[in-house]
Structure formats: structure tokens, C-alpha cells
């Protein structure tokens, strides 16, 4: 058993953890340690070989491996330490317990902790898709890992449920590798992922996108043999008369991501029932003042560029905390979702009178066109903007200074513009 001490401990070496560790180091934390369960750094971006990353952060279009490499190089340059093949088992009030084959069990005492464990995929069982339980039903991310990292071809005739980004990207990936993608099936009447992915991954290859459809049955005792696809009514209830059976040997699910909060639970940190991630303030600080969180463990992002920005903030303030430079939090203001806002992150603003930039990320509940987005405190509108279109699949954000919050309340709302 070894004992390790560090200023800032970062859990996870994906894009969030890498950005946080760099920021922590730059803020002056002497010893910054990342614990990563994989054999290499980069997290999910290692399997995201496609382009589309970095357009806002680096102003150029990068692939996943190129994007994380820029952070990885910086991490090593600054002297951040990384423990690979190491799994955190527990976060207690006192310390963090992790294990690896190489170093055995380690107990780490950290000045502050940054949670950057990312997210996991929703499964068919969370959607309660009935039918048999054959092989050949994969979450899109698992399929992506098998193909892009493990050199495994997973099937030839594919149906994809859900229009999430990974599903659409896998539709293109499998088509390029010679598989036939029969259809992408989406329950809602709007796209779950980004429009650019529909254009470049589906339309380019003439892959049909069936909106307002779902899968109602899975057949096959050994390998999957077919799925039954039904149109759904206004309440998203399948209409049995519309059932069509599609023979296939593979079903990919791209039906949502859930923050990976096993450790957050163990650390007894407050979790938002909407994002399923920890409740944080503008410093990305959780309900436990020495624990910070960033990236998809907090709320699922659609662009890694946002993750990097948010994670730098987490790393910076985690370092401040560890160095004793972060003021005690006072005057907690809850950011309340108003009309057509599903959630806001961060959920809390503290010490508003001290100022500092606030960047509120939020998602709308439903798609809308020609709207005005408002951030309000009391009767005052702090900041507002017009938007031609808002979509739950595309995260929005509003930026302002904390000193603008003059009442003990804060609301974000999306209002229909009067025509």
C-alpha cells in the first residue's frame, strides 16, 4: 500500500481532466496528479477519430486524437503526473483509494479533487425495449471502440436507434467500412445530435432518417436477426399498424449519455436529478467544497470545446482551493430554469458581489424558432439575445459578470419573439 500526497487530484485523463490539470498547474498548484483507468490518456477522444473538434477552441477542424494531443503535450510539458491503468475505488472524507496492477493499492491525500470521469451510454434496458436478448446489440460508443481501437468489424447490416451524434458518426463509419446502414430511427421530431452530422454522416450516404419512429421488438435467439420499427403518435406511443420488420445483424443504440457518477455518489455529493451530475457553482465546485467537477460528468456536452473551457475553470479553482486562495462560499443563488429551459449549469452562483465572468450553459426543453433568450435577476434583465432557432440537441450559453446579479435570484428563460 502506498500513500501519495498532491495538491490537486484529477480523476480521468479525458479532455476534461487534461484541461483541468493544465489550468491547475498554471494557477500555481505544485503537484497535480491525474488518475486514469485506461492504458493511455485521451479518454473517449481516442476512439473519436472523426473530425469536427476544435472549431471554436482552436479555430480549426481537428480529429479527436489531434484535439486531445494538444492538451496532452501541454500536460506533460507542465509536469502533470499521470497514473495510468489505475482505477479509483472510493472517495472518502479523508482520502481517495485507487488500485492498479503496477502500484497496487494507493491512498491519495489531495488538497482538492477534480471529478472528470465523463459519461456512459444509455442501454436498451433503460428504454425498456422488449424482445429477445441476442448478441449484436451494441451501444454506439462500444461499437466505436471495437472498430476504431480494437480492429473488430462488428456487423454488416445495421439499424441505428437514436439520432445522437455517436450514432450518426457510426453510421458513416460503418458505411465507409462496407456495412449497409438500413436506417437511423429517431423517436422525436427533432434531431438529437448536431445538424452537421446529419448532413455529413447520413445525407452524404443516403442513409434514411426515420423521425417519429421507434423500435418495438428485437428478434433473434443467438445473433440479432431483425428489429421491428413503428411510427409513434403525438405522445410517442407506437402505432402497431405501422410496424415494419427490418432484417439486420446489428443494432446500434445512440439514445443518450448519462454522467458517470459512481464516485460522486460514494463521496455523498449532491446530484441534480435533471443532469444526473453533481450540482456545481460557477467555480465548478460541488456540494463538498474540496471537490470540483467538469465535463460530461457534470452535464453531457455536445462540443468538446465547451468541455475544455469549463474544465479549465474547474482546474483553476481547484488549485485556488488547494492553495487556500478560494474565498468561503456565501450567499448562494440558485439559477432557475424558466420557460423552455430544461437545465442550467452551473446551478449555483456564490459570492456574486466579488464579480467575475459567469458563463451559464443551458439546454432548451423543446425546439423553437425565433426566440429571445433572457437572463433575469429580480425584475432586471441582465443580458439577452435573439436566436433564430434553439434545439435541445445544441447547448446554448449566456455570459455576463457576476456583479450584475443584484437580487437573490437568477432565471434563464426562452421567450417566443413577437412577430
Amino acid at each position: 500500500m502506498q500513500r501519495i500526497t498532491c495538491d490537486v487530484l484529477v480523476i480521468g485523463a479525458g479532455p476534461a481532466g487534461l484541461a483541468a490539470s493544465i489550468a491547475a498547474k498554471q494557477e500555481g498548484a505544485e503537484k497535480v496528479l491525474i488518475v486514469e483507468r485506461d492504458e493511455s490518456i485521451g479518454g473517449i477522444l481516442q476512439q473519436c477519430i472523426h473530425p469536427g473538434f476544435g472549431l471554436s477552441y482552436f479555430k480549426e477542424e481537428l480529429t479527436g486524437p489531434e484535439y486531445y494531443a494538444r492538451f496532452a503535450d501541454k500536460t506533460l510539458e507542465l509536469g502533470v503526473e499521470v497514473l495510468l491503468n489505475t482505477m479509483v475505488l472510493d472517495i472518502t472524507d479523508e482520502d481517495v483509494v485507487c488500485i492498479s496492477a503496477k502500484d497496487g493499492l494507493s491512498i491519495i491525500k489531495a488538497g482538492s479533487i477534480v471529478l472528470a470521469m465523463g459519461c456512459r451510454e444509455r442501454t436498451r434496458h433503460q428504454l425498456t425495449i422488449p424482445g429477445s436478448r441476442p448478441s449484436g446489440v451494441f451501444t454506439a460508443g462500444t461499437a466505436q471502440r471495437l472498430m476504431n481501437r480494437e480492429n473488430a468489424m462488428i456487423g454488416r447490416r445495421v439499424v441505428i436507434l437514436g439520432s445522437g451524434d455517436i450514432g450518426m458518426i457510426m453510421a458513416r463509419r460503418m458505411t465507409l467500412e462496407g456495412a449497409k446502414v438500413i436506417a437511423v430511427v429517431e423517436l422525436n421530431d427533432y434531431l438529437a445530435g448536431l445538424t452537421r452530422n446529419k448532413v455529413q454522416c447520413l445525407d452524404d450516404f443516403e442513409i434514411p432518417l426515420l423521425m417519429k419512429h421507434t423500435i418495438t421488438d428485437i428478434k433473434g435467439r443467438k445473433r440479432i436477426e431483425s428489429v421491428t420499427v413503428c411510427e409513434v403518435d403525438a405522445n410517442n406511443i407506437p402505432i402497431p399498424e405501422t410496424a415494419v420488420e427490418y432484417p439486420c445483424d446489428t443494432l446500434l443504440l445512440s439514445v443518450g449519455l448519462i454522467p458517470e457518477n459512481e464516485l460522486t455518489h460514494k463521496a455523498e455529493i449532491d446530484i441534480s436529478p435533471i443532469t444526473n451530475g453533481p450540482v456545481v457553482n460557477q467555480y465548478m465546485q460541488t456540494s463538498r467544497e474540496d471537490v470540483f467537477a467538469c465535463g460530461n460528468v457534470v452535464h453531457v456536452n455536445d462540443l468538446v470545446d465547451n468541455v475544455s473551457l469549463e474544465s479549465e475553470r474547474a482546474g483553476q479553482y481547484a488549485a485556488k482551493y488547494a492553495l487556500g486562495k478560494l474565498k468561503k462560499r456565501e450567499d448562494v443563488i440558485q439559477a432557475q430554469p424558466g420557460r423552455n429551459v430544461r437545465y442550467i449549469c452551473p446551478q449555483q452562483i456564490v459570492n456574486a458581489e466579488d464579480g467575475g465572468e459567469i458563463n451559464l450553459y443551458f439546454r432548451v426543453a423543446g425546439p423553437e424558432e425565433k426566440v429571445r433568450i433572457l437572463v433575469k435577476t429580480g425584475d432586471k434583465v441582465i443580458v439577452q439575445k435573439k436566436a433564430l432557432r434553439v434545439n435541445p440537441g445544441e447547448m446554448e450559453h449566456m455570459r455576463f459578470d457576476a456583479r450584475e446579479i443584484t437580487s437573490p435570484d437568477l432565471t434563464v428563460e426562452v421567450m417566443k419573439e413577437a412577430i
Binding site: I99, S100, A101, E177
Partner: protein, 478 residues
């Protein structure tokens, strides 16, 4: 091939019989069509060791279940199986149900389950706060217990194996030869086995086996039971087995913890003709939700991590039977082993062994019978100090393969390399649980495939989910 006893079926009952008979100087061969021990019904059920309180008094089923329940403390200890006597609560929510309680208690007494007690409303809500607050009263059945059903069957089988029993898996019985009023041999897809005894423990398929020797005087009608399993972290949990009061139509759906801390809810009861129809259905799952919410209103279905179904081998006409025949010596036919099969397996082993002795089986006891079996160390359940020591001893305990259930690479290697070891992803899962958590194998599947392929020295495309044909990977991409 030549043996003394062929047991057809490697489910709970077949393996328990094989283990019991391995106490004698007998050559025993267990044959099963599946690629792994564990049977069909034995691996998809409510994982409960019943007391027999609600059996039909005076039947063989009642006798065996009531006798079996007390045996499990010893079995769990000797064979290293997770088992907990958590007790069952049978709440009466409506006045009508309240009126039924005395009759249920009376039946328990006639089954000699004397430790059933009444609970007041206050008792119930104190013991089990999640039960519907409208509860009037309840019955408490303290010895109703939960077990790991996969490991129980594996433990019977591994211990039988350690005592010399042969197992022929992925081997289907296609015919049985008889002559001179005796069993002669069993024909299988793996060849002919000469034998003196045949024990038909084929459960769902026992009617077809009986037909091979002209003794099919009943049919097996598969009765499907669909289940939900909820996340360990679900917001609404129970500590006891919460049983519904049966109606004339159905025994109803229960909610119970598993030995691993999940919530198990179900089953449905649907009579089918297809013995392989292990699908779940939208209607079936809905009926479970509707029913169980009457008992435990706050069940959080959003925390469901899997739905599955199993087939109970229901006999028509009904009833548990163990038959022997004057005109066919050496043949023992088990039929009507249904939802209580897991429980009564322990007693059935003893019952069948005794029956064989009474029919002239005179093999002596083995002098060196091994009575115990050591399971695979569950890393997740150890203390920090124990974990540290274990990794020091064997570094592969430091490699976590399944993050949801904290399963290490070393446990997976043991599952593969121990006797009757796992050959498929599901077989690994049933031994050491990778993939049974909330991500449902999304994270660990590639790793488990890789480890199996490496250890068995085959390409990844030959690693199956379970039976042949259930491949994950078509082949190398490059």
C-alpha cells in the same frame, strides 16, 4: 463411452443429483445441450430459496421444498455460495386480502412451516417503510431466503466435478436405447454412452426425453416469467422479499433484493408453446409495473438496468413427479420441477440417491469425497487492507475490467480457468458478474472478449455471447 449414471440436464436439479451421487463409487456423466452448466430455468428465476409455506400440503413438492430450506445454511457455507435469510413479508393491502391471511397461515402450518407470524400495520411499516402505507397487516415468513442461483448451480457442478463427475456440455441427447427391460445407452450428438442408469432432469425438455423411452405421459408447457432488475443505487429499495397475496388467477409479482444488492421484480406467468421463447414483451413488463406498484408504490422504474425472462417447465397434468418403472430398470424420470426447482434441488439430490439405493444401487461410499468448494474471491467485497494484500500477491487484482461491479481481471481469469470454466461472455458474467451493472457491459464487453480470446487462444470472432452463433465480432477490420 461407458459410465454408470447419465444425468440429463445440468441445471440446479441435475447438478445437485450429480453432486450427491458423487459421494458414491460411481462413474457419473452429466449431459447438457447448453455450452455452460446452469440450465435454463435455473438461471432465470426469482433467486429465492422458499420455505414451502404455500405449497400444496401432502405433495412431494411440499415435502422436498420444506426439507430443502434448512439445508442451505450448510450448502452456502460448504460450497461458498452467497445466501441470505432475509425473510419474506406478505402484506395485505385491501380488506379482501386481509381476510385471506388466516388461510395462508393455516396452509403454512399444514406444510409444517411453523414460524410464520402475523405482523401489524405498524410492524410492517417499521420493517419495510416502502410498502404501500395503506397496508392493513401482513404475514412474516422468516426463513424465505435469497441466493445467487448461478453460483449455486456452478458450485454443485464444480464440486461434483472435483469428485470425478464428467460433464459433456454442448451435447444434446438424441435417443436412449433400451433392451431387456433395462436402460442400455444414451445417444448424444457427442457419441453413444453405455450406462446402467439414466436420470432425466431435463426440465423444460423432460417430456421429449421421456418420449425417447416411451414414457411420455405428460407434456411440459413452458410458463414464461419476465423480470426487472433495478440498479443498486435505486431510490426505493426493500430489505425483505415482498410477496403479493395470490389471487385465483395469479401468484402475482414480488419485489426482492438480490444477494448483490439489486432489486428484482417479477415474474409474469404466461403459458406458451415455444420452449425457447425467452423474450420480454411490452405487455408483460407493463403488467409487472402495475402490479408491483400496488405493493411498493415508489418503485423507480427509471433505475431499471435489465429486463429478462425465463421459462418454468410447467407439467400438464400438474404436479412434481419422480417416476421409476418396473418395465424399464435404471430409468428415473423427473417431471413437474417448476418454480420451486432451485429450492428443492438440495433435497432432490438426496431423494434420488436414496431411491437408487432402494432400487438396488449398491456402490459403496467414496472414502475421499471432497465436501467443500472454494468460490472465486470477490474483490469488491473486501476491505481496503485485504484488497491491498491481494494485489500484492496477484497484481491482476489491480486491473478493473468491469467498473460498475468492480470486477478484476484476476477474477475473470479464474472464471475461465477453473474446472468447468467459462467459455462465453455470459458464462463469465454468471460467475464473476462483469456486465451485470448499470452500463450493462457497454464498458467491459470489448475487454472480456479480448481476455477470453487471449486465454482460449482463439480469434475474437470465435468468442460467443453464449451459444454458437451468438458472435460479437465478424472478424478483423484490417
Amino acid at each position: 463411452m461407458k459410465t454408470d449414471v447419465v444425468v440429463i440436464g445440468a441445471g440446479a436439479v441435475g447438478c445437485a443429483i450429480a453432486r450427491e451421487l458423487s459421494k458414491y463409487e460411481l462413474d457419473i456423466t452429466v449431459v447438457d445441450k447448453n455450452e455452460d452448466v446452469g440450465g435454463d430455468a435455473s438461471k432465470s428465476n426469482s433467486a429465492i430459496i422458499h420455505t414451502g409455506y404455500d405449497a400444496s400440503p401432502g405433495t412431494l413438492e411440499s415435502e422436498l421444498v420444506v426439507a430443502a430450506n434448512p439445508m442451505y445454511d450448510e450448502i452456502a457455507r460448504d460450497l461458498d455460495v452467497q445466501f441470505e435469510r432475509i425473510g419474506a413479508i406478505l402484506p395485505a393491502i385491501t380488506d379482501e386480502q386481509l381476510e385471506q391471511l388466516p388461510a395462508i397461515k393455516d396452509k403454512a402450518m399444514r406444510n409444517r412451516v411453523y414460524d410464520v407470524e402475523y405482523l401489524t400495520r405498524e410492524d410492517v411499516l417499521r420493517m419495510e417503510p416502502e410498502i404501500n402505507p395503506e397496508v392493513r397487516a401482513a404475514l412474516y415468513i422468516p426463513r424465505e431466503s435469497i441466493i445467487d442461483p448461478f453460483v449455486l448451480v456452478q458450485a454443485y457442478a464444480e464440486n461434483a466435478f472435483a469428485n470425478g463427475v464428467h460433464f459433456l456440455l454442448s451435447t444434446k441427447v438424441t435417443d436412449i436405447r433400451t433392451g431387456d427391460g433395462h436402460i442400455q445407452s444414451v445417444i448424444t450428438t457427442g457419441g453413444e454412452i453405455e450406462t446402467k442408469w439414466v436420470i432425466n432432469a431435463a426440465a423444460l425438455f423432460c417430456d421429449e426425453i421421456a418420449g425417447m423411452v416411451g414414457k411420455r405421459c405428460y407434456d411440459v408447457v413452458p410458463r414464461r416469467g419476465q423480470f426487472y432488475i433495478l440498479d443498486k443505487n435505486t431510490s426505493c429499495k426493500v430489505k425483505h422479499i415482498v410477496l403479493p397475496i395470490p389471487t385465483k388467477v395469479t401468484k402475482g409479482r414480488l419485489m426482492s433484493p438480490t444477494v448483490h444488492g439489486n432489486m428484482l421484480i417479477g415474474p409474469t406467468a404466461e403459458d406458451l408453446d415455444d420452449k425457447t421463447a425467452t423474450e420480454t414483451t411490452a405487455e408483460g413488463l407493463k403488467s409487472i409495473r402495475v402490479d408491483v406498484e400496488k405493493l411498493v408504490p415508489r418503485v423507480n422504474w427509471r433505475d431499471a438496468i435489465i429486463q429478462f425472462s425465463g421459462l418454468r417447465p410447467n407439467r400438464v397434468p400438474e404436479g412434481l413427479h419422480v417416476d421409476t418403472y418396473e418395465d424399464l430398470k435404471g430409468y428415473i424420470n423427473l417431471s413437474g420441477v417448476r418454480s420451486t426447482g432451485l429450492t428443492l434441488s438440495a433435497a432432490m439430490g438426496k431423494y434420488v440417491a436414496h431411491l437408487m439405493v432402494s432400487l438396488g444401487m449398491n456402490a459403496p461410499f467414496k472414502k475421499n469425497f471432497i465436501g467443500t468448494r472454494k468460490g472465486i474471491t470477490r474483490f469488491a467485497d473486501l476491505s481496503v487492507e485485504q484488497k491491498a494484500a491481494l494485489i500484492e500477491e496477484q497484481p491482476l487484482y489491480g486491473n478493473i475490467v468491469c467498473r460498475c461491479e468492480t470486477v478484476t481481471e484476476q477474477e475473470i481469469l479464474e472464471a475461465i480457468h477453473r474446472p468447468l470454466g467459462a467459455r462465453s461472455v455470459d458464462a463469465v458474467k454468471r460467475r464473476v458478474r462483469p456486465g451485470t451493472g448499470r452500463c450493462q457491459a457497454g464498458f467491459c464487453t470489448p475487454k472480456v472478449i479480448e481476455i477470453l480470446a487471449r486465454e482460449l487462444n482463439v480469434p475474437a470472432s470465435e468468442i460467443m455471447k453464449n451459444e454458437k452463433g451468438s458472435y460479437y465480432v465478424v472478424g478483423d477490420m484490417r
